[in-house]
């Protein structure tokens, strides 16, 4: 017995997306509350119905959120460990809580304001401390990585991308294709932060950040909040929108994937030169009873462009090592692609709310209301990744 089709996403809410720091004087709490209220309203529900929180990446504190919102009774609070990798997996945890009878109306929310801290490792106020003695690595062990010059997830992505290039012949042109596809999709969206066209020349003229990654290979730095509400499949059918069923969901990875990858990189090579998502992908497809050929649109966690290529491999859209030529052939384009990817513009061009913009887009695609609607979209893949255990993937189905 699994959670397949036992629960559905019924509401989505979001604040505007802001360039880093520009959401001030709003706070992470106020934006989270606004997104949750909008998601409940979208579903035709209210705070009186809300009783569960399935969160990830220290999004916010459920106790504070529930008190602020005035939730009558809290029945379920879970925070998946790790970082943005668990974003898609939080939907599975919400479905499990509902199917297991622990809660009825579960919210998943992410809120971020990067005024006083920056997620990628850049210093704020002279402090360069991201990930120091954090995320489960104690100081005796950080002594083996903190002096390497590897300071954040982008540096690890650069190391992994270079090894992928070495083993498989992947080229910067392939990374560029991911960036250009995302930008083309973002251009048409009023929510997007980057809407000027991006050409191959623009890409190759951009400054290097951590070779082989340039500015455009990196996620945007964004403020904002996005929330979704999940309820049981039975109840979903009576609500405002067509249900978006959770077909399958998994999070995890092989144990040796390890903590923050720029402080680790001790995993077997086939896991190192990947998004780390293969095991979660396999379990997700098994639960849903479908395969990659059944997916109509893929919302892939794009903290760095090479990670889109590696997730395309790890989620089975092309063989391992073929992700570069696969994107170069136009397969991820909105129009004419075999598997349209990040039709919302993704973290690379729309905005970065640590995975939740991808969930929002999946729901809009399956409701048929997306700006860049994929014709006849019935199944959407949402993923989370890729800097530390767990990675996650969820398959959503049109009701």
């Amino acid at each position: 017995m699994t959670i397949k089709d036992k629960a559905a996403v019924v509401g989505v809410g979001a604040t505007p997306y802001y360039k880093r720091g520009q959401s001030y004087p709003q706070t992470e709490l106020s934006m989270a509350c606004r997104a949750v209220l909008l998601a409940l309203e979208d579903a035709g529900l209210s705070v009186q119905d809300l009783d569960g929180f399935a969160l990830y990446a220290q999004a916010c504190e459920p106790a504070e959120l529930a008190a602020t919102l005035g939730v009558p009774e809290v029945r379920f609070t879970t925070m998946i460990t790790g970082g943005g990798g668990a974003s898609a997996g939080a939907l599975g945890v919400a479905a499990a809580a509902i199917h297991g009878g622990m809660a009825t109306t579960v919210v998943t929310v992410m809120t971020v304001q990067q005024r006083d801290r920056r997620l990628g490792g850049s210093s704020v106020g002279g402090q360069l401390t991201y990930g120091q003695a954090a995320m489960g690595i104690s100081r005796p062990y950080t002594a083996f990585s903190s002096n390497s010059g590897l300071l954040g997830p982008g540096h690890a992505a650069a190391l992994i991308a270079r090894r992928h290039m070495h083993l498989y012949g992947t080229e910067r042109e392939h990374f560029a294709e991911v960036c250009i596809t995302s930008r083309d999709n973002a251009i048409r969206r009023p929510t997007a932060l980057q809407t000027t066209p991006l050409s191959m020349d623009d890409y190759f003229n951009a400054r290097m950040i951590a070779d082989p990654l340039c500015l455009f290979d990196y996620t945007l730095e964004t403020d904002g909040a996005v929330a979704v509400v999940t309820v049981s499949a039975d109840r979903a059918r009576d609500l405002r929108h067509p249900p978006v069923y959770v077909m399958g969901s998994a999070h995890g990875g092989i144990g040796r994937t390890g903590p923050l990858n720029w402080k680790w990189l001790q995993m077997p090579e086939d896991d190192l030169v990947s998004s780390g998502s293969r095991s979660a992908a396999r379990r997700m497809y098994e639960m849903a009873g479908i395969g990659p050929a059944d997916v109509d649109v893929a919302l892939i966690y794009d903290n760095f462009s090479p990670m889109v290529i590696m997730q395309l491999e790890d989620y089975g859209f092309c063989p391992v090592g073929q992700g570069g030529p696969f994107v170069a052939d136009g397969n991820i384009r909105w129009k004419g692609g075999s598997i349209p990817v990040n039709t919302h513009g993704g973290n690379l061009s729309e905005g970065y709310v640590i995975g939740m913009t991808h969930v929002r887009e999946a729901v809009e695609q399956l409701r048929g209301t997306a700006v860049n609607q994929v014709d006849g979209a019935e199944v959407a893949l949402v993923t989370g990744g890729t800097s530390l255990l767990p990675m996650s993937g969820t398959l959503l189905r049109k009701g």
């Binding site: 002279g126 120091q132 100081r139 002594a143 083996f144 400054r207």
Partner: protein
């Protein structure tokens, strides 16, 4: 940026270090004691022979806690690397570009005993995957000796 580092000491290509104390415990102290004497000493499982870095307390292959410390030749090869151009801290503008690499250490099984190091004293363009390197130690204080790597030009691959 961190205790003991001032801008005047920064040198292009040499990452100054973020953690200048070892916070050594019983599982890591032998590494640092050897490093102070320019020796690369790494824990190895007595049961199955697997090397491990960082020196975690249990063998990840057979779960034994029985450990020997073995001296390695101090050479290795670059598994992968990045050339960091963008300074994540203003002080690092004097340091960028610098090279950071993952190195498979000679004498070990590689995976599970790799070392993450700044590759110094070279043209960043000269670094490549598979390049042979030697681990060197920068004795920044009485406690911390930062391992770094230098390219070895004359060693056969």
């Amino acid at each position: 940026m961190t205790d003991g580092v001032t801008s005047s000491e920064l040198r292009r290509g040499v990452f100054p270090g973020l953690q200048l104390q070892t916070y050594a415990d019983e599982t890591t102290e032998p590494f640092w004691s050897a490093a102070r004497h320019d020796r690369l000493v790494v824990p190895r499982c007595r049961e199955c022979g697997t090397f491990r870095l960082p020196p975690l307390p249990i063998c990840h292959v057979c779960q034994s806690e029985v450990t020997d410390w073995e001296e390695l030749p101090g050479t290795g090869t670059v598994l992968t690397f990045t050339i960091v151009h963008h300074p994540l801290h203003p002080d690092l503008a004097a340091v960028c570009p610098y090279v950071s690499a993952v190195v498979d250490l000679d004498g070990t099984q590689g995976e599970g005993a790799r070392i993450l190091v700044n590759v110094t004293d070279c043209d960043p363009a000269a670094v490549s995957i598979g390049a042979p390197v030697r681990i060197v130690f920068d004795h920044v204080n009485d406690d911390m000796s930062i391992p770094r790597a230098n390219l070895v030009a004359d060693r056969p691959v």
